[in-house]
Structures are given as structure tokens and as C-alpha cells.
Symmetry: none
Subunit: 191 residues, 4 copies
DNA sequence: TATGAATGAGACTTCATTCAT
DNA sequence: AATGAATGAAGTCTCATTCAT
């Protein structure tokens, strides 16, 4: 298979983006990969050496992937925490849970690569937890949620959502798990 | 470093046990290890080749470690589910949660090595989940807990306890997390 | 599979013989074996260590196997060379060729283990070649065979027989090869 | 011994060639080698890992060596079989025998590595045997050789030549063996 | 004599990373 | 900026051989 790729000159931004995209694609595909650097560059139609022009190591790439995946979430929670519009907190929390469960439940190793070992000690972990906690705090302030330690609620919620996603990925019923999580949050967070 | 170790002849059982012990010790220590087989045999005061007399690969050892760690739990839950004595279900659930949190919260990679990727699809995962669910079911039958899908409650509880343990391992307050989990279970499972 | 074999005390002769038998059985079986010492002792229903009571190394065993297999041949050729009875040399050579071809043609790695690398430089090789040559020399002396360098004829014959055996082992027609060898010897050795 | 070799960047073709050359050199040298990959890369002034860029295993390399060594032969026989020029078959067969005997007789393990176990079942074996047989068939058609199964003649001839080469490598007289083979072919193949 | 648990040198292989072009 | 050939440290695993019992 001689895919004689000729030198493709791209802007650094674009090339870096293509590599991250390729990594995410592979991570999501769930195919077992051992030789990551080679697999990613092949997928991105770039040469192996090009990888190291943009990332200093494989760990570095993983950080980039995590950033990309999380920034979406974090942004949305920040907006929730900072908006001046009125927010339907129950609807918001349900929607975010579903969204997260579906991301995690998607078969493939993406969420694992992104979340595994992501404790509140990591930079990313803290940022994510804080964004969620900030939103929850507003819901508590407005009296919609019971007053609890928002940080701990955020972490716990994250764990629950994770479990649901895993179970769904393992073949259990999505509907039942969504309902179960909804039931749990209602019981737990209602004043 | 020639630690000219003399040949120690042990019964297969004993030697296998020593190797598992050594593995658990290292896993718990949290020291970063890359070359596990060599590290474990060194720790167990055995030769590298001896490892392969008892385990066909590192994965195989991990299974043995998991078995060892889980069997304790599973036994206790089975006893709860089968006893004819009256059980104080709230006390039981609290006690088990504390115990689990403390195991997981113990610094080091043991619980991670044992539990990571342990979904209800794995043999061990299913066995554990079932043992917990069976106990919960009795609590529900006796009307102490609300009637819910015991399997899902078990999995979720496991995730929550895991999160608590992780947080504690990361330095957060044990007391506050224990209290939070207690509060969650009360709210969630009370009829 | 706990074949709890209890200590079987055998005369050294008998035990050694059993081990050689087992080795030949395995060699003949053609099953791919990597761990020979272990395979042979298992087959002989003996402990691994017992092997080294009778053989100083695996090479040593191979020598014993070779001796066993060859001694038969050598004896027969010696008898041919030394008998005072009249010999039908054409019949004798045909019979020996068939016998050798059938040994070699028997599927399995025995003949390979025994003959591979057996050049006239090895002790065994020289002995075998000499025995054959001695018999041929008598056939020549009696005028039945053409006068040729008996040693070279022996070696060449050996090679031809080997090729025939291999071909048969590889699935070609035994009858045709036997006939071809017979034709070759007639043409080549007739005065 | 730190032979701080600097990085030599070669075209894949060139590097692969150098590795094969090195392997042939070692094979011919007859030195006992256990760790082939390491020995070959050292000989080729390359790093161990480089070997696996071009060959997936030592077996793979052996195939390449065989191809290299055999292609010469096969080509020559094919040409003989296909030429429209008149061919002096006796001269041709003598020349090829001498050539083959000299290759095999060259001390060292090359021919052994290449030919051992090369039965007519292997791809290469069949190809080689067929090329020889095709040439012989033409000699038979032209009435120079007696009519025989060309395939069997080819295999047998191969074996005889092999024996001669081995004997010469073991120190016997080249002249006598060449003469013996010549005598054999004359007797056997003349109409 | 017999056992089988223990050994460790070393073979094989992988893959993140480097660097000459 | 881009390439891809080259590297070698590091890991996994095998198996003939040893030796305490």
C-alpha cells in the first residue's frame, strides 16, 4: 500500500488540529492500538516525525485531547454559572447528565483516556470540578438544590454519571440508567 | 548488586502466595513501577523465572490479586444476603461503605489496578455486583430500603464509594466524605 | 491434571531406556515440541530432574537416540560384510534402501534429529558410512557391483534414499520413488 | 566496547540489502551464532531495532536470504528451459552440478540454512525443483537424456549434489566427487 | 535414586523518540 | 515545516540446567 503522500504544507494550527482529530478518532474507534504515535500520524496522513514537531511526547498529546474534550463541558458549565438569564436548574442538570453519560457510554477508549486518573488533583480535574461546582452553587443559592458542599456533589455526580456511562457501554439499558440517575439527583438534591 | 540469594525451596502454594503478597505490597506502595515482573520477584526474593512458573503473564497475576482482594468483600456481602439473623441494614450499609472507602482511599495503586476496567461484564465484576445487589435486595424486601433495581444501586454505590476514596486519597477530608456518602444513601434509599 | 505419580524405582538401565523410548516416541510423533526436556520426562512419566541423572545434557540424549536408531542398521550392514554365506547383493541393496526410505519417510522429526548434520566427520556418521561401504565393497569384490569408491557410493546412496524418504513424507508416491531408486542403483552400479 | 556508531541514513533498499549481505556473510563464516538478530545488525553496522524495521523475524530474513541465493539458480535453469538456441545438455548439466557443488561445498552454514528442510512442499522448493525439472524435460524431449520423471530426477540430483558438497566441505576430495557425480549422471541419464 | 521447585542468562520484540535530510 | 529511517533502552518470556530435599 504505497500511499505516496507528498509533503503537505499546512499552517501549524491546522496540522496540530489534524493530529488531535486523528487521535480522538482512534481513541473513539475502540480498536486496540499499541503503537500510538505511529497510528495517529498514519491516521492524520502525516509522517511520524511530524508528531514531535507539535507534541513533545505522547503524554503531551493526551493533555491536548483532554483539553479539547473537556473545554466544551467546562464552557457550558461556566456559562450556566455566570449567565444572568434565569435557569431551569433541574432541566439543566438532567441535560448535562444525559450529555455526559452519552459521551462516556460511547464505546471506545476516549473517555477512559481522558478521564482515567483524572482526580481533583490534576489541573484539568480541578478546573472541571470547579466549573460544575460553580454552577451547582448557583442552583443552591437560588434554593432549587439543597445546600451541600458543591465540590463534593460535583465529584460524586461525576462518578455516578461515569458508572452509568460504563454500564451502558457494557450493554445495559440506557433508558433505565438515565431514569436511575434522574431519580438519584431528585432525591439527593431536592431541598 | 549481587545479592547472592540462596535457593529457597517452598511449597508451590507458599511461593505463589509470597509472589501475590509481594505484588500487593508494591501495588499499595504507589511507587511507580514499569517492569512489574522484575519488581515483584525482587520484592518476593525470588528469581524472575520463578514468576512464570506460577503466572503465565502479568495479567494473570493481576487476576490473582483481584481475586484475593475481592473475595473478602464478596464473602461478607454473601453472608449478609444469606444470614437468618436479623440485620440492621442501615448500619450494615454504612459499615461497608466506610470499609470500602478506606480500602480505596489507602494511597497507592492497588485499588486502581484491581478495579480499573472492572465493569459488570467481567466475571469478577459481575460476581461482586451480584453479591452487593443480593444484600440490597434483602434490605428492600424487608422494607428498610426503597424498592429499586438492586443491580443498578449496587453499581452506583460502588462508583460513589470509589469517588470518595479517590478524593480522600487525594487529600480531601475523610470525615466530610464519609458524612456525604451517608447523607446520600439515606436520601436515596429511604422509602 | 494431577497425575500424582509416586516414586517409581527402576533399575538405571530400565529408566534410561524408558527415557530414550519416550524421546523417540515424541520425535516420531511430529508434534511440535519446544521444551524437550520437560516433554520427554513427562512422556516417560518421570520427573524433570531425573533426566539429568541419566543424561548430562540434551545433546547427550540425542546421541543416545542416534545410537539406538543407527545400531540396527550398522549391525545389519556389518553382518552383510562379514557373513560367509552367499549373498544376493541386488536383493540386499534393494531391501536396505526400502527399509531406510521407510524410516525416513515416516512422518515426524526422528530421522531429522538423527541424520541432520550427520556428515562423515561425525563419529556416528563415519561408522555408518563405513559399515555400508564395507558391504558394498564385498559386492564389488564379488563382481556383482561395478568397481567404484565404496565410501562415495555409500554417501551418495544415503543422500538419494534420504531424498526419496523426504519426498514420500511430503506426500509423493512411495511406489514411484522406490522404483526410481531401484532404477538408479541398477544403472549406476551394474558392471 | 562502545563503538559509538553514528547514524547512517540509507534508502530502505540499501539498508535491507546491507542486512541481507551481513546475514549471508555470517552464515557463510560458519562461526557458531546463537543470537542472530544481534549478530547480523552488529555485522551490518546497524542497531538491533533496525532489523525489525525490515524483517518481522529471523525466519523472515532467512526467506530473503534463500530468495537471494536461489533466484540465481532458478533464473539460469529457466533460461535453459526456454532458450531457442541449441543446448549441449551434457555440458549444461555438468556445469550446473559443479556450480551447485561448489556453492554447497563452500564451508559455512549458508547452504544449510538455505536448503535445510527445503522440501518440494515449500514454495521455494517447488519453484526450484520445477525449474530444474523443466530444463531436464527439454533434454529428454531432445533425446539426450533417457525418459524419466523429470521431477524425481531433479530432486534426486539435488540430493546427490548436496551430498557431494557436504563431503567436500568436510574435507574430501573435490575432484573425486565431481568425477563421481559426472559418472553417476552419465550412467543414470543416458538413453 | 528420584524429585520438581527454582534459577537466570539471554532470546525475541516493541515503540517512543531522535535526527539527518 | 516536514519527513521517515534509525535508534536502543526496556520489556516480555523461555527453557536447559541446578540443587535442596
Amino acid at each position: 500500500m504505497v500511499t505516496s503522500r507528498s509533503r503537505r504544507r499546512l499552517s501549524p494550527e491546522a496540522r496540530r488540529g489534524e493530529l488531535i482529530d486523528a487521535a480522538i478518532r482512534l481513541l473513539e474507534s475502540g480498536k486496540p492500538v499499541t503503537n500510538w504515535v505511529q497510528a495517529v500520524t498514519a491516521e492524520a496522513d502525516a509522517a511520524k516525525g511530524t508528531f514531535y514537531v507539535y507534541f513533545s511526547s505522547w503524554e503531551d498529546m493526551l493533555v491536548a485531547v483532554r483539553d479539547r474534550v473537556l473545554s466544551d463541558y467546562i464552557d457550558r458549565f461556566r456559562r450556566l454559572a455566570e449567565t444572568t438569564e434565569p435557569v431551569d436548574w433541574w432541566e439543566a442538570i438532567d441535560a448535562e447528565c444525559v450529555r455526559a453519560i452519552d459521551l462516556i457510554g460511547r464505546p471506545g477508549g476516549l473517555h477512559d483516556a481522558v478521564f482515567h486518573g483524572m482526580s481533583p488533583t490534576t489541573e484539568d480535574g480541578r478546573e472541571m470540578a470547579e466549573a460544575i461546582a460553580a454552577a451547582l452553587r448557583r442552583g443552591m443559592d437560588e434554593g432549587v438544590f439543597r445546600s451541600l458542599d458543591a465540590h463534593m456533589v460535583a465529584m460524586t455526580l461525576f462518578a455516578v454519571v461515569h458508572a452509568a456511562g460504563d454500564a451502558i457501554a457494557a450493554g445495559e439499558s440506557r433508558e433505565q440508567w438515565l431514569e436511575a440517575v434522574r431519580d438519584l439527583t431528585r432525591r439527593w438534591l431536592s431541598p
